[in-house]
């Protein structure tokens, strides 16, 4: 009995270490590049994905027809090694590089692109970016189920030629070809994505552990034009900007895509951090989607009032850390940010032209070439926007006149409470709390705040189950179309259920308008309708905020916040 007891005691004493040793492999070990990617991605299937965190991963494991040069933002060869555009700008002919392979070793051909693109367009698939290719001849009518898949003008010739015919010139079409939704999908993917599904990029997924990381390793079957420098890449699912910052500061991550607003002034000014801090002008707008079907937001007076009481200058300066600019409309307006960037450069003794110093910004310069996309926010004169500034007294007057009860007058109906939905992160909840305070103080509106993990948030936003929800939109290509097509009737990413015929008409005629000046005028009218009647409450014009370790080289600032991992390598430092 004595020996049995001792044996049992020994077993207990040893069981904990045995369990510890058994579970030790759950510690993943180091990687060449660790990206604190913000959040657990939703789907990383090119047709299903929508967010930036997904986009970064898809860019690494897939390769499109073209890539975007992070230096100049010009399209450069990807799977296609050359291409021709007809003089009318409506016919594109791509030559796929021979010998390309999927990561399972099978051949990749022009047919793979044709099938993937048609799947993207397929009205029954309901892809969130299904409308990207709707200017292709036959696409629109198929999406309305009037014609069939075979009548869409995406054709192949042999294994290597892909030919597309457009209804009208689309100046940004080459940019589209580099976008994640247009990247080829393996024939057996069947809507799935993950380690088991073959892809064609320089890296493949080795493992995916929920709420932890996606680990990429180099793809042995990659035959494309890039030579990747990194062997193992970790995308950490770290939602909190604060945790990201901590990981970076401790050397456990090399690139943090989000930082807490409070730290930004220090990151910007402290010499220890400022060389790692990339707050660059950015074609992104931060706004709230409004649910126009629920009271009280169905009342335009309420919408006008909740916008009027916001001191966006204070929001940008005191709450957000000072980098973003107040949003004056729905098209982001990065000009002040570019100006500030220029001043910052001059203060550091760099007097060269901003375009030389900030590669990629040349893409934003004015141009009269109708073939070239232009980001023309600055062309839409700001003084004409529907933005009315900050005027709480006027807001209260408007509400009072509309029969609502506001602080200082006991008459009228009480305003129903609002719910703010936001994805969990420090900055979002800070903004939500700020809004809660301001609306309560100035208008007596009660609000509750609901925060959710990114994926759940997207689900709820897509099903329009919110009053107000945190949103942002980032240009896919440098043209206002990227923003203003978002809210046309039935647009898959609208997530508001809003529909306005006049708006739809303006957008449609702008898309078909080949003359630059005319197009911009139409965009301007469309934007005005959106601001006056639409489901948006613009807050600020974004700046990208990346904190990048000194060990990372090849990280170039640009207004699309596009950082291809193909160009990035680790320095020996």
């Amino acid at each position: 009995m004595k020996s049995l007891e001792s044996a049992i005691l020994l077993l207990i004493v040893l069981s904990a270490p045995i369990l510890a040793i058994w579970s030790f492999p759950s510690l993943p070990g180091p990687a060449d590049l660790v990206i604190a990617n913000g959040t657990d991605p939703g789907s990383i299937h090119p047709h299903r994905a929508t967010g930036l965190p997904e986009g970064r991963i898809i860019q690494a494991i897939h390769e499109g027809l073209l890539l975007i040069d992070p230096r100049s933002l010009e399209p450069i060869p990807g799977c296609a090694d050359r291409w021709e555009i007809s003089s009318a700008g409506t016919r594109y002919r791509f030559h796929i590089q021979p010998g390309l392979l999927w990561s399972d070793g099978t051949r990749l051909t022009a047919e793979d692109f044709r099938r993937s693109w048609l799947d993207l367009l397929d009205p029954l698939q309901g892809a969130p970016y299904g409308d990207l290719l709707q200017s292709v001849v036959g696409a629109r009518s198929w999406r309305r189920l009037e014609t069939s898949r075979e009548q869409v003008a995406i054709r192949t010739e042999g294994e290597s030629i892909l030919e597309i015919e457009l209804e009208h010139p689309v100046p940004w079409f080459l940019y589209l070809c580099a976008q994640t939704p247009l990247q080829p999908v393996h024939p057996e993917a069947d809507g799935r994505a993950g380690p088991a599904i073959a892809t064609n990029g320089p890296w493949v997924i080795e493992s995916w552990r929920l709420r932890d990381r996606i680990r990429l390793v180099t793809n042995p079957f990659y035959r494309g034009p890039s030579t990747p420098h990194l062997e193992v890449i970790d995308f950490l699912a770290v939602e909190s900007g604060n945790t990201q910052l901590n990981l970076l500061a401790a050397g456990m991550a090399h690139w943090a895509v989000r930082t807490p607003a409070a730290a930004i002034p220090v990151l910007r000014e402290d010499a220890q951090w400022s060389s790692m801090w990339h707050a660059d002008p950015y074609l992104g707008i931060s706004f709230f989607r409004l649910n126009l079907e629920r009271p009280p937001l169905d009342d335009p007076n309420i919408r006008r009032a909740i916008s009027l009481v916001l001191d966006r200058q204070q929001l940008c300066h005191d709450v957000l850390g000072g980098d973003p600019e107040p949003a004056l409309g729905f098209i982001p307006w990065p000009k002040p940010a570019i100006e500030r960037q220029r001043i910052k450069m001059m203060e550091r003794g760099l007097t060269q032209e901003i375009h030389d110093l900030l590669p990629g910004y040349s893409g934003m310069a004015m141009t009269s070439d109708p073939q070239k996309p232009v980001m023309t926010a600055a062309q839409i004169a700001p003084e004409q926007w529907a933005y009315e500034g900050h005027d709480p007294a006027l807001a209260r007057q408007i509400l009072q006149r509309a029969g609502w009860r506001v602080p200082g007058s006991p008459e009228g109906r009480a305003i129903p409470a609002l719910e703010i939905l936001h994805p969990s992160s420090g900055t979002h909840s800070l903004v939500a709390e700020w809004l809660q305070l301001v609306w309560n103080r100035e208008l007596g509106i009660e609000t509750t705040i609901q925060s959710m993990e990114w994926r759940s948030f997207l689900d709820v936003q897509r099903s329009v189950d919110y009053d107000l929800s945190t949103s942002s939109w980032i240009a896919d290509y440098p043209d206002p179309a990227s923003f203003l097509t978002l809210f046309t009737t039935g647009a898959p990413n609208s997530r508001t259920g809003w529909s306005d015929q006049e708006y739809d008409q303006r957008v449609a005629s702008a898309l078909a308008e080949p003359r630059l000046e005319e197009r911009m005028k139409l965009w301007q009218q469309a934007e005005r309708i959106l601001l006056e009647r639409g489901p948006v409450l613009p807050l600020w014009s974004m700046t990208s905020g990346n904190l990048v370790s000194h060990q990372v080289e090849g990280f170039l600032p640009n207004p699309l916040d596009h950082h291809d991992l193909r160009a990035i390598h680790r320095s020996s430092r």
Binding site: N242, A262, Q314, D318, V319, E433, N440, T448, S451
Partner: protein
């Protein structure tokens, strides 16, 4: 050490003093000359403790000192509400079980056994998740529901103690005599047994209250308890961890709410210990 000197020795008195001050400031918070807990001054966000902000300010420039005081109100209200719920439920359950037939005693205590073997903390998190932003909360019942949850978790120890004491008390001579004289059992329980239980109940309450306080902090810290714009010690700690980084360390946001909670918990434990020694001469430790 005599009982008397233990009670009056300095440390328990200090602890008791701290509790008094905490309760008093919490009750008086609306009339104290401090900023409102939701008065935001974004231009003064992240102030370290100084003349304007005694304990510093938070991300929206709200006064931390005021927020801690207002947080005390909610945290203490939780403790009191949870403690009372545990008191009511536990005492009645224990009395009914201990004073009833042995069959009733058996099944009532089986229920308590079952509840004790269930990991209630996890079930409560499930409950909090379901209740969160549901119609219950919208109806303004959020905090009430939360209080009830807190009480439900901690009533079983009370039921056990009361039941045990009751069983031993009703076998005492005076109780047997009263029964023999025709006192109805219910009257015996509530009029004669219950008053004799008071010291035990008091001691058990002092054990339960810190646990409720801790549990409130735990749930709110995880984001499943008190929701903004309400503030409690748990949500203050949660806010602090959102901004705990080496670049711009808002140490005051971590330190002061933690200190308030720690000092109160320790005081409660010390006072509870002293009470136990004073009221329960059998207890040796």
């Amino acid at each position: 050490m005599s009982r008397r000197s233990h009670l009056t020795s300095t440390i328990p008195m200090l602890a008791f003093g701290w509790l008094l001050v905490t309760v008093a400031t919490a009750l008086l918070a609306p009339w104290l000359p401090i900023a409102a807990p939701d008065a935001a001054l974004p231009e003064a966000a992240w102030s370290a403790p100084d003349d304007n902000f005694l304990l510093g300010s938070d991300a929206l420039g709200r006064d931390l000192w005021s927020r801690i005081l207002w947080g005390t109100r909610i945290s203490l209200a939780c403790a009191v509400a949870g403690g009372s719920a545990a008191l009511l439920l536990g005492v009645s359950w224990g009395l009914l079980a201990g004073g009833g037939s042995s069959a009733r005693d058996h099944w009532m205590m089986r229920v308590v056994d079952l509840l004790d073997s269930v990991p209630l903390v996890f079930l409560v998190i499930l409950l909090a998740s379901v209740a969160r932003n549901s119609a219950w909360i919208d109806a303004g019942g959020g905090l009430t529901l939360f209080f009830i949850i807190l009480g439900v978790v901690y009533w079983t120890p009370m039921a056990r103690v009361v039941r045990g004491e009751t069983r031993s008390l009703i076998r005492r001579e005076w109780a047997l005599a009263a029964t023999a004289l025709g006192t109805p059992p219910r009257r015996l329980l509530w009029r004669q047994v219950l008053p004799n239980l008071l010291p035990t109940i008091l001691v058990t309450v002092t054990l339960i209250i810190p646990r409720v306080l801790l549990f409130e902090a735990f749930l709110s810290f995880l984001g499943l308890g008190v929701q903004a714009p309400e503030v409690s010690w748990g949500t203050l700690a949660r806010d602090a961890f959102e901004v705990l980084n080496p670049v711009r360390t808002a140490w005051w946001m971590v330190l002061f709410p933690s200190l308030a909670l720690a000092a109160t918990l320790l005081s409660l434990n010390i006072v509870g210990d002293a009470l136990r020694t004073a009221l329960d001469p059998k207890q040796k430790r």
